[in-house]
Every structure is written in C-alpha cells, then in structure tokens.
C-alpha cells in the first residue's frame, strides 16, 4: 500500500435538530452534532439506530423532515451538487457496477464528479496506485474478491480529492484479513481530511476515530472522545434504545 499523501484539511459538518421520518417511523430524532475539520468521527449504533439515515441526509440523497445539516456552510437539501462536490461516499457494502472493468468504473466515477481529460487520467492513475489496484484495473468489478471490491469502493470516493469522506460500515461482510486491510487504508487518512465513519464495530471505532457519537433509536445517546465514551463503562448498554422520555447524556 502506498503511503497516503495529505491533500486536504477537511470541512466542518454541523447538524441542528436534524430529524427524519419515514411514515410513522422516526428514524432520526432532533440530532445535534458538530464534526470538526480534519477529524475522524465515529458514528456508532446498532442496526436501525439512524446512522445510515444521517449519512444520507449529509450526502443529500434524503431530505430532512425538520432541522438542518450543513457541510462547510452548504445545505445538502438546498445545494446537493455543491455538497456532493466536497464529499466522497463509500456506501454500506460495495455498491458497484459488476459489469464494468475497474478502470472503466473509476473513469465513470471521476467523470460524474466533473473530472475530464488529463485531470481524469491523472486522478485514475493516482488512485489505482494509491489503492494498489493496478494489478486488477482491467478486470471486471464483479469478478473481484469482496476485499478488492471494497478497495474499489473506497478508491472511487477519493478521485476528486474531497475534503470530507463518509464511510458506511466499510468492513461488513469482509473476512478478518480484508477488514484489517480496509482499516489500515482508513487509518492512513487520520488528520488528512474529515472522515465520518459509520460502524457498529466498537474495535474499529477505537482504532480509527478520535471522537464518537452513539445513536440509539434515532436519538443521540452519547457523544465525546472515543476513549472516554467507549472506555468508561460497558459500552454495549449504550446501544440499547432509549426510553421514550430519555434524553442525550
């Protein structure tokens, strides 16, 4: 793996009373948090806690029911294109185009972010090198192992050198060796740019993040430095949904 070269300083992400409702189900309930530029921030919680919903609101894929979220001062609800230009998004499980070759897929991902000509060629070459994908660049994405597919998924998020990287459950479904590989890629990013790491793996959060927020039942259960939040008591109890009257600690 090539050593990561710092290229960006990151952006601030601010959520204020952010809520999202799907019919009767309140997936995210008045979430307030701030993520500092250059910070690797962990978003923890059990399945259905609201992590992915928060990420979709930040990326502009979903609109909030109420409240607001801003990325570097821009609202994804009002200016999704502006926000998306500042972020790279690695979705939960590798959501790729299996019928495309790795290089073709990366060229598409770069083109979709507005890269063209020499800039696109250079970005694809740089990313292939950085993520050790040169050996598989002419293979079909669908024929790659899960570990390589996850690497391709990570690589596409870096093509336009975004100051914000959002990674949703990056090691789900991978074997221990592949998990370690992905974690080491993410570990190289610390301080380089703002990273929001969405996970329910406590070890992963301890290893990679400096601060975490724990969501339960769509509400913020606890937020603070990783060691403080995950180290002071049995962390599993933090994952249980709050009572109806519960408030963030």
């Amino acid at each position: 793996m090539t050593t990561a070269q710092p290229t960006a300083t990151g952006v601030r992400v601010v959520a204020r009373d952010l809520s999202r409702r799907f019919g009767d189900h309140l997936a995210l309930d008045r979430l307030c948090l701030e993520i500092e530029p250059g910070e690797t921030f962990g978003l923890l919680g059990a399945n259905g806690a609201g992590k992915t919903t928060f990420i979709r609101l930040v990326t502009g894929v979903l609109l909030p029911s109420s409240g607001s979220v801003h990325v570097d001062g821009l609202s994804p609800a009002k200016d999704p294109r502006g926000v998306q230009q500042k972020l790279g998004y690695v979705t939960e499980t590798s959501r790729l185009y299996p019928e495309l070759r790795v290089r073709g897929f990366l060229r598409f991902a770069g083109g979709a972010r507005g890269l063209k000509g020499d800039a696109l060629d250079a970005a694809v070459a740089r990313i292939l090198l950085r993520f050790d994908l040169e050996s598989v660049c002419d293979r079909l994405v669908g024929n790659l192992s899960k570990g390589f597919q996850q690497r391709v998924s990570l690589a596409q998020a870096f093509l336009h050198d975004p100051p914000l990287l959002i990674v949703d459950e990056p090691t789900g479904g991978l074997d221990p060796l592949q998990q370690d590989e992905v974690r080491s890629i993410l570990g190289d990013l610390r301080g380089e740019r703002t990273v929001i790491l969405c996970t329910h793996d406590l070890g992963e959060a301890r290893r990679l993040t400096s601060r975490v927020a724990i969501l339960a039942g769509g509400r913020l259960r606890r937020m603070g430095p990783t060691e403080e939040v995950l180290g002071e008591r049995e962390p599993l109890e933090l994952f249980a949904p709050l009572a109806a009257t519960g408030t963030p600690e």
Binding site: L63, T91, Y97, L100, F108, G114
Partner: protein, 263 residues
C-alpha cells in the same frame, strides 16, 4: 456536460455488456424475419393461385390489383410488428432504473454530483438510441424486399419513422415503470400491461359514444401508428409520441426526486 457524458458512456457500456441487449436484438431480428417470410410465403401462394392457368402456365394479368407486396406483405408485417414490440421493449427498459435501485447503486448515482435531470436524461438517451438501433434491425428484411417491390422511399421512411416512434412510446412506458420499482420483473410486467392496455381502444367503439371513442383513439398507441403505416406523417402523431417521451422524462425525474422526500 462532463458529468452527463460520463454517465452516458457508462450506460452504453452497461447496456452492451449485458446479454439482454444482444438477446433482444437477436430476438427482434428473428421474429421480424419469421413474420416477414411467413407473409411472403402466403403472398407467393396467393400469386400462384391467381396466376396459374388451366394449361399449366402463368398469366400475371389475372392477379387482382390488391394482391401486391405492399398490401399483402408489408402492411400486415408492420401491423404485427407494432403489436409484437410490446414484448421485447420492456425487456430492454426493465433494468434501466430498477436494477440501480435493487443493487443500491442508485444511492451512488444520487450522491455523486449528478443531478436527477442528468441521470434521467442519460438513461433515456441511451435507451432511446438502442430502440432506434433495434428498429433499424427489424426493418432490414422488409426494406430489402419491398424496395424491390416499388413501395417508394418516402413511404418506407414514413413507416420506419412511425414504427420507431411507436417503439419509443412503448419504451417510454417501460422506463417510467422501471423508475417506480426495484424489481425488474414488476417493471417489465407493468410495462407490458400498460402498453397492451393503451395499444388500441378500437374494440370499445361499439359500446361508447363518439366523443369518448375519439378521446380513446387520441390516447391509444395504434391509431397514431396506423397513419404512418399508410405512408402519412402527421405532426399530431409525432407530437403524441414525443409527448410520451416527455412524460416519461418527467415521471422518471419525479420518481428519483420523490425518493429524496419519501425515502
């Protein structure tokens, strides 16, 4: 424009790397050939019956005027093809949006900086381009034979335009169906059902009033194609099919935008 072109290239690659595209092209070429040669065979039999003399020879003067390549072969083939298009076209359109949704790549597209108009525009452009190619393939046999039969280039062009417009109309229905579901089977079944329902309301004329019959004809697919088949190009018919394509664009955009609000 760079983003749009990137997606356009990806869509072309995805379409032609899928076996469905080649399967459908082959199926259309085969079905067209089978339908065409079956009518040609019948035409030859009819000719034989009318032209045979009791002395065992042939006399072309005994063939009635209405027995000709255009009326006995070309027009029935085009009429049958227009109906047969309802089956293969949904096979092409079913995957366009539904596949993105079912495998989760729709989220990748929506978060990549592409606007919903660019996403829908690129997908519709590639699909419509493929449909035109499909019609060109379907047209090879009839054109080859009919060009010999003296139908005329203008009539041929009108029929090709009509058949292509009809195919684009059916594809528009298929694309809209694909945008509202994550299941390709549901998208294909819905497209076949809707296209079949709107194909022709001629059978209702015996039961409904004149005004309603005129309205039903105005919204049905076949009456707008029929005039092209006769070699007549009406702006109103072209507008109808262009309108279907525009409605498909709006519905597909709505489906993507609605998911931002509805989830």
């Amino acid at each position: 424009m760079t983003r749009f072109l990137a997606l356009l290239r990806k869509e072309i690659a995805a379409l032609f790397l899928s076996p469905i595209a080649y399967g459908v092209l082959t199926m259309v070429a085969l079905v067209t050939a089978l339908v065409f040669f079956e009518h040609l065979r019948l035409y030859n039999q009819i000719l034989f019956v009318f032209a045979s003399t009791t002395m065992g020879g042939f006399d072309t003067d005994t063939i009635p005027d209405h027995i000709n390549l255009r009326d006995t072969v070309f027009n029935p083939v085009m009429d049958q093809l227009s109906m047969l298009l309802i089956i293969p076209l949904p096979l092409v359109t079913m995957r366009v949006f539904a596949e993105e949704r079912s495998r989760g790549t729709e989220e990748v597209l929506l978060s990549s900086g592409l606007s919903t108009s660019q996403i829908v525009g690129a997908k519709l452009t590639v699909t419509f381009g493929f449909v035109v190619l499909m019609m060109a393939v379907a047209f090879v046999y009839p054109v080859t034979a009919i060009a010999q039969g003296g139908l005329g280039a203008q009539h041929l062009a009108a029929v090709f335009l009509g058949l292509t417009a009809l195919a684009l109309g059916i594809a528009s229905i298929g694309l809209a169906a694909s945008a509202f579901t994550g299941s390709q089977i549901v998208a294909a079944a819905a497209a076949v059902g809707i296209a079949f329902f709107f194909y022709d309301f001629g059978w209702t004329h015996a039961f409904v009033g004149e005004d309603l019959a005129a309205f039903l004809d105005a919204i049905a697919l076949r009456p707008h194609f029929r005039r092209f088949a006769e070699g007549l190009v009406f702006i109103s018919d072209l507008t109808y099919f262009l309108g279907l394509m525009a409605v498909a664009f709006v519905l597909c955009r709505f489906a993507l935008d609605f998911r931002r609000v509805g989830g």
